[in-house]
């Protein structure tokens, strides 16, 4: 009988393609990296995820996927992505595996879950932010409810999770410039998210308010990265 690693390996290309299909629906990738580069590197990364999964399965050691996830995160975060993007890649891979018949308790799924878990930072300000991201996203969206249609609310919550992921990465890496660079680029991209009159600086301002006293480090870092209303309107 074929082992899980050989079965996954035999379906590597199909799994890799399926894992990133949903990702390409997001205009972020094309806008951020250009159509050709986004596809080339996105496809390449997807194939590497499967390749390392096969390796992890070969050795029956989720630690291979864990090490890969942490190593790759540093690489991608330095190139304008955030932890959530990588996590979404792994979610896409888990979905592709599921569609191929691998149930939640199967070895490949266990290894992908290990990789996702490895993306949680050790205890500290970044981890606190990761642990409370969903709640903070909901709270921020609720504060902005007057500007949103009911359909927009879940989309804005997703947006907030993305911004919080960038913030957590900048905190964990102790590199405020990661957040500043991201904000500078994202402010130009924001209109394509289709939130009407809701401006990006206003959203970040509300996010800062939601961080409150529970996340002083994140709040301070976001304050240094924020784009002012005047700057975006000048």
């Amino acid at each position: 009988m074929e082992t899980p690693s050989r079965l996954v390996e035999a379906r590597a290309d199909t799994l890799a393609r399926a894992s990133v299909e949903a990702m390409y629906q997001d205009p972020f990738w094309e806008a951020r990296y250009g159509a050709e580069r986004a596809r080339r590197f996105g496809d390449e990364d997807a194939r590497f995820h499967v390749r390392y999964l096969v390796q992890s399965l070969d050795e029956h050691r989720p630690s291979v996927m864990e090490g890969y996830a942490r190593w790759l995160r540093t690489l991608l975060v330095s190139r304008g992505m955030c932890t959530l993007h990588l996590d979404q890649n792994f979610v896409g891979l888990a979905s592709a595996l599921e569609a191929d018949g691998w149930g939640p308790d199967s070895e490949p799924q266990v290894h992908v879950r290990a990789a996702r878990k490895a993306l949680l930072y050790p205890d500290g300000p970044a981890r606190r932010l990761q642990d409370t991201a969903q709640a903070l996203a909901r709270a921020t969206t609720a504060r902005l409810a007057l500007y949103l249609t009911p359909e927009d609310k879940p989309r804005l919550e997703e947006e907030m999770c993305l911004q919080l992921s960038y913030l957590a990465d900048a905190l964990a890496e102790q590199k405020p410039e990661l957040m500043a660079d991201h904000v500078r680029w994202y402010v130009g991209f924001w209109p394509r998210r289709g939130f009407g009159l809701l401006a990006f600086p206003s959203v970040l301002g509300m996010l800062k308010a939601s961080l409150g006293v529970a996340h002083p480090e994140a709040r301070a870092l976001l304050a240094t990265a924020g784009v002012s209303w005047e700057e975006t309107r000048s």
Partner: protein
Amino acid sequence: MEDPVTTFRYSTSPSEPVTPETETTLTHLRSRYLAAQLAGHRLEALRLLVDDGVLRGVPLQVLHLEVIQPAQYEIGRLWQENIISVAQEHQATAIAQLSLAHLYRHLPRDPPNDKVVLLSCVEGELHEVGARMASDFLEMAGFDVRFLGANVPHEHLGRMVRQVRPHLLALSVTMTYHLPALRRAVGHARAVAPDLPIAAGGLAFRWAPGLEDTLGVSFLGGDARELVSAACRTLGV
């Protein structure tokens, strides 16, 4: 952009006591060597290692482990964090290779112990700086080393084992996805020489701790010094 040189930090510590003066000298030397690597100045990199290192009495082992190796780790980090490009990383690595080759003839060598070690990177593995450094350390300890370099097909490795009849085979693997190649290499070597002690080492093991227990190898050479100690113990020298 972050200045790679001023952010250069080291975590390794020499096994011998280090005075503040020697540490300062080494720190300075490391920074200048790394700067030369990043600038692509081959001659300057070699001049630093020889004039400011060897000729000032810095032991070769210290130059390997406290200058060249940490500089390579730093080069890797700078690429990973998008501070330097792949081309710059390759340029710097080429300088490290050149440096090791240049220092080779200066290696202090213990008297020969008449033990032959065959050292090779597994098939597909292109990262050979660590293996080359391990070869130099084994040679300094008096071993007769046959270094095969990067990406050696396992069939040819098997033939080499049959031909050379080494006392120890040491296999290096850096990328985890070459671990299957390591298993194949071990298998081929075992088929030719069932009782041959085999050591494995390299960065691939950092993501799979304890893996050596499942490989059928004699021991894990975590770094160059560890490999030499284990080789001496295993071969009784």
